[in-house]
């Protein structure tokens, strides 16, 4: 009924291929393609807003890293390279699984799609788990900004068995800003991941029902865009937070 509404007495170049009308077709769209492209465009625009949202925080990071480089260096050294690198690899793998999942939806392989979505979720959960572990460690070392923040590890690294130059007390105080940015940036990132994981559970359930293996791939595609974007944020956070100054005694 809606294809009939697609007007025009003019010679219709579209006649030779069918307009697939999926059950999920929304009637204010003329064609399935229009709906799909509109949805994809909408998701890209939403990702732009996320870029600007994180952008403000990156600006703060850029400024304070340059003002307080020694403090940021020292703070960054407190982060665990093995855990951070592992997390990076895990998130990249999660993104890879998501991409294959999108392919599976496009070629209508329901089983593979469900498996890939589950793998994406599993890797995402592992990422969050490792992050939680890192946060816990920071809590125990009194490196969470606020009343309990303890700078002694930076003013007296030798006392903790760390082979680093000590910082002056005022510069050591600035490590608080580093850790704030660490928690804020990774926390915001983790929040986006948690939201994504929630959506993934819903998508897995729907994919299992077969919603996405008969030509209607938009939700999987668009979620894939979101998930990859979250991955990209981490690809920047990893070197900016973990790898500020890892070269041996400067």
């Amino acid at each position: 009924m809606d294809s009939a509404l697609a007007t025009t007495d003019q010679p219709d170049v579209h006649e030779e291929h069918e307009h697939i009308v999926l059950p999920q077709h929304r009637h204010h769209f003329e064609t399935e393609e229009q709906q799909r492209e509109a949805g994809s465009f909408g998701m890209w625009l939403f990702l732009l807003t996320e870029v600007m949202f994180f952008g403000g925080m990156f600006m703060a990071y850029l400024l304070y890293r340059n003002w307080y480089y020694p403090a940021f260096s020292a703070g960054s050294e407190q982060l665990s390279i093995p855990l951070g690198t592992a997390n990076t690899a895990i998130l990249i793998t999660s993104g890879f699984c998501m991409a294959v999942g999108v392919w599976a939806a496009e070629v209508r392989k329901r089983g593979l799609l469900v498996v890939m979505l589950i793998l994406t979720t599993v890797f995402g959960i592992i990422f969050i788990g490792i992050k939680g572990d890192e946060y816990h460690e920071k809590y125990e070392m009194h490196h969470i900004p606020g009343a309990n923040f303890n700078i002694s590890q930076f003013t007296n690294p030798a006392g903790y068995g760390i082979n680093e130059k000590p910082l002056a007390p005022d510069m050591a105080q600035k490590t608080q800003i580093f850790f704030f940015l660490y928690f804020a940036l990774t926390g915001l990132h983790a929040l986006h991941m948690l939201i994504g994981l929630g959506i993934l559970f819903w998508l897995i359930w729907r994919a299992h029902r077969g919603d996405f293996s008969s030509g209607y791939v938009a939700p999987i595609e668009n979620f894939g865009l979101y998930w990859h974007f979250v991955d990209i944020i981490w690809l920047f956070l990893y070197p900016l937070l973990y790898l500020i100054n890892r070269h041996p005694m400067h």
């Binding site: 870029v51 990156f58 850029l62 991409a99 392919w103």
Partner: protein, 117 residues
Amino acid sequence: MATQEIHTDANDPTNVTNPEHSQHHIVTPLQYTYVFGTLLLFTGITLGVAFIDLKWANPVIALAIACFKASIVVLFFMHAAYQSRLIKMTIGAGLFLFLVLISMTLTDYISRAWGMW
């Protein structure tokens, strides 16, 4: 799916209603695997270079690698290379504005002589 012709008619010269009829490319898992491998490789490179003291070049290289990784994710995992010009311009616009935020704010900070830089 084969690439299809661009379908337009006199009343829809910019192909508003059927934008994806211009092309519908499906990226294969093999291509994804190449990208995956590249991402892991460059993660390793970033990590390795971080342990070498290159002074000012360290953050430059780290950011350059991060940008490269992000680009291949955007182009291949997110299919941007195969999307319409509109999508490509949208991505460009976002990047442009992010750079405006950073660079124009910096015009203030780098010209303030508070002994911080």
